[in-house]
Each structure stands twice: as structure tokens, then as C-alpha cells.
Amino acid sequence: MTFTGVAVFASGILLIALAIVPEVNRRLREDTLRLGAMRLPWGLHYCWIVVAILAVVQVLATSISMAAGILLPPLTDPGGDFGWSIGTIGAGIATYYLVGALFAPISGALGDRYGARRMMLAGGILYGASMVLLGFVSNLWQFFIVYGCMLAVTQSISMVPLMASISGWFRRRLGMGTGILWAAGGIGTAILAPFMGFLLEEAGWQATFWSIGIFGGCIIMILTTLLRNHPSDIGLKPYGATSADPPPAPRNLDLERVRTKVFNQHIRRTRAFWNLPTIHGLGCAGHGLVLVYSIPFAVEQGMTLTSAAVILTIVSLVSIVSRLTTPMLAEYYGTRKIMATCLFVQGATVFILFWAQDLWAFYLFAALFGLGFGGEWTGYLVINRQYFGNGPMGSCYGWQMTGALMGHAVTTVIGGLLIYLTGSYEMMLALSIVFSFGGVVVIMLLESTSRVLIPDWELSLPPEARSAPVRAASAAD
């Protein structure tokens, strides 16, 4: 009953939010004009403020998927309020990944259409409402609706269009921008995970998710006032832009719709468009299996739960190094080589687990695996730029996130089935290696990143929608 009441209340808030959209739009425009007149100290480009905002959003959004592991003990505790089976919760988590995978391209397309700022506002409202509702969950169907559907949509909105928007802020050094973004997200996640566990133990289920929902939702909505969709919104050029670069594309809702449609038509005709989500899926399936089952495997090998939990801490901390450096190296040495190396390291280090008997072997595995894992998935924004140039990237990145989340969903299902069938972890580990090495093979099939695959896509646009209008003389060439 309480849940229904809060659900009705949250729906009312959402309706009010929708009703005041014109007012919100007016306020957003006024904020933009005010910010445009402001100059940052020390000549700091506004792109770094955007990176900082998105890092905070990323930490909060990641806390949703991260919550899955932390939720297991209270949800499965037979003496607690829930007492659900691991299989049932696994189905809820698989639903979360599936819904997220299905919604990722939609949220990417919405981001291309309405801009990152409005998506962030929607994400903030949904984040607060969903987390508060999670605190009220008492039945299984409520868990499936709130965690499996609402939070999946929230994470999709918070991750896909917002992270894809970073591309427009950098003409050069996109690798550095995304590297800092992912690394900051990794540090935040490493801090937030134990904090959430602490809150659940000390404050209980409801207080934890109410406080996270209200605090996180408010932070996201406050940061919305500082985020801008494009540098041109505040009269700036992208970071690293020179006078030789083409001027920004015209900003008009109808023209942007045409640009997005034509751009997506062009990228769908490239092999890379299909191969990149495939690689992301294989990579995520490879590390998803290990991240989920490495702790129970270590416990089965005789480690204590506390020392086994350190494995994930080491993976998270070491991955910060490769999260930071991979996009930068990818920009200088080519993303294919770097991604293939990271994915190979991710797969090859799993072999250590077949012989691991002592704690040091598990920690060695965690350190090496973390290097591969952190670098395997952080190069996509860079490779998108290298392959597809400066077009609206939300939908494209959304499909790649679909691949990633499907990889996790498959992992949840197959990993559980394999352990159930064989009663051991060896087959699961072997499958993880197969997935990672499969990803390396598909990377080998990618085109070279030395040239843009669709350099002439804007020629299919009406002249007024092009970022660099074609002069009559050029058009006649």
C-alpha cells in the first residue's frame, strides 16, 4: 500500500515536472545566456567543468548497477524482510540489463534530439524517484518494476546521451577528456561501494535508498544548471579547435533531427557500426563472468570472504590506471591496437585462476586483470570519433551500450547455468576467456582508424543543415 502511495506521488511529481517544461526551458535558456557572459579563471576551458559534472553523474549512475552486488545479502537473508532466492534476484538483475540494453539506443536518440541537458534533468528526476521507491520495495513484482525497469531506464538516460555528449566538447585531446572522466568515475565508485554497504548495515534498507535517492537526485538536478549541450551554447569553440576547423553545425531542432537521421543512415552502412557493439558485448561478457564469480570462486578455494572481497577492490583500483591511460594512448597509437591489447590481457589473465591456490595468486590476478578490464571498454568514444567524425553520436554510442548490457545479461544467465550444471567454476572461467579472445578476433576485423569511414556524410544533407556549408565552386567540382 505504501509502495503504491509513493508510486502515485512520484508519478504526480513527474507530471508536474512535465507540465512546467516550458518554464524549465525558459530558465535553461536564461542560465545559458548568463553563463555565456561568465569567464572561468586561469583561462580554464568550460569542457573541464563538463567533464567534472559528467564524472559525478557517472558515479551516481554506476551506483545503480553496483548496488546489485551489495543488495544480495539483505535480499537473500532468510531472517530478513525479503528472503528471496539468488535465482530470483538474478532474474531481476538480468531484467535490469535487458531493459537497459533495449532502452540504450532510444535514450541515445533522445539525447541527439533534445540535448544532454534535458536528458540529465530527466535522469535526475527518475534517479531520485526510483531510488526512493526502491526503499519502499517489499514485494518481488515491485523489485522487478523499480530495479529491473525504472533504474535500468535511469541508468540508460544517465550514461548514454550524457557520456556521448563529451565528444562535442573536444576537437582535440578527446582521449584525455574521456580518460579523466572514466578514471574519476572509477575513483568515485571505489569510494561509493563501501559507503553504500556501510549505510545498508548501519541505517537499514529504507534510509539508505531514500538518502541516496534524495541526495543523488538533487545533485544531478543542481548540476543540470551548469551543464551545456554544446560549446557554442555559451559562445565557445570546442577544446583544441583552430580557425581551420569547420564551424559548429547549425543549432535548430528540425535541422538537428535531419542531421541525426542522415548521420545514422550513413554509420549503419559501415561494418564498424555492427562490430563495435559486438566487441563491447564480448568484452563485457568476458569480465562480467569474472567480476560476478571471482569472490565465490576464491572462497571455494579456501580464502576468507573478507580477503576475497579485496580482489574486487584491487581490480577497481588498478583499473583506474588503464581507464585514464587507454583513451589517451588510443588517440595517439590507434584504438584498435590498444583495445585488442587490453582485451587480450583481460582474457589471458583469467588463466591464472586455474592454478590459483594462494591469496597472493588471486591478488596478482586482480592487479593484471584490472589493467585489461579498465582499458577494454574506455576507448569507444575515441574510436567513434576516429571512425565517424563529429556527427551526433548518441544513438551510435547507445547501440554500443546495448552490446555491453546484453553481454552482461548473457553472462548472468550462462554463468549461473554453467556453475549449476558442472558444480565448479572451471567451465565458466574458460567461457570468459573465449568471450574475451573472441572480442580480440572481432577487433582484428575492424577497419583501420587512420581515416574517417564516412567523410562525406554531410553531402547527403540539405545545405542549410551542414556544419560547413559547401560553396558553389566546391559543389560544382
Partner: protein
């Protein structure tokens, strides 16, 4: 306009992954059923014992597929909907 390249690697990965899910899912469902049949052969009530049914006529014990066919799809008490789907879809189980 360039012709559309066939994303072979994409389709290969999708098909292999689906095949793996169906294979392991059917394996899990059949393992469940065998476990149940073994339990039933020791006299535990609560469902149809396909193994016992086959043996009582002096025939070979029924396999999973034959058992499924013999039940006329009436598997509610023995197998979940996903187990039935996997068994129907997998050619090896």
C-alpha cells in the same frame, strides 16, 4: 551510395551466443528432470515418473524427449516454462 556490408561477425557472435544459451538451458532443464526422475524412482511422490513408466512395461527407460512427448506436453508439475522452451529448442537434448 556504398552498398551495405554484411556484418558477418555480428551475426556469428549473436547466433553462437543464442546457441550457447539454448544448449546450456536445455542441459540444465534435462539435468533437473533426470534428478527428479532419480528421486521418483526411490519412491518420492509428487509427479509423473517417466523412468518408472517406461520400465514397468519392460521397455527401456524413456529419454528426456520421449518423456516430454509421452506427457503430451503436460509438464507443469515437472518442468518450468523456460525448461520446456529450452528442451523444445535444443536439438541435442
Amino acid at each position: 551510395m556504398k552498398s551495405v556490408p554484411l556484418p558477418i561477425s555480428f551475426f556469428v557472435v549473436v547466433i553462437v551466443t543464442l546457441a550457447l544459451i539454448v544448449f546450456f538451458g536445455a542441459w540444465a532443464a534435462s539435468a533437473d528432470l533426470e534428478e527428479r526422475n532419480r528421486a521418483l524412482s526411490f519412491g518420492v511422490p509428487g509427479g509423473v515418473s517417466f523412468e518408472a513408466k517406461g520400465s514397468s512395461d519392460g521397455e527401456e527407460p524413456l529419454g528426456i524427449r520421449e518423456a516430454f512427448a509421452a506427457s503430451n506436453g503436460n509438464f507443469e508439475s515437472d518442468s518450468s516454462w523456460w525448461g520446456k522452451s529450452f528442451l523444445k529448442a535444443c536439438p541435442f537434448h
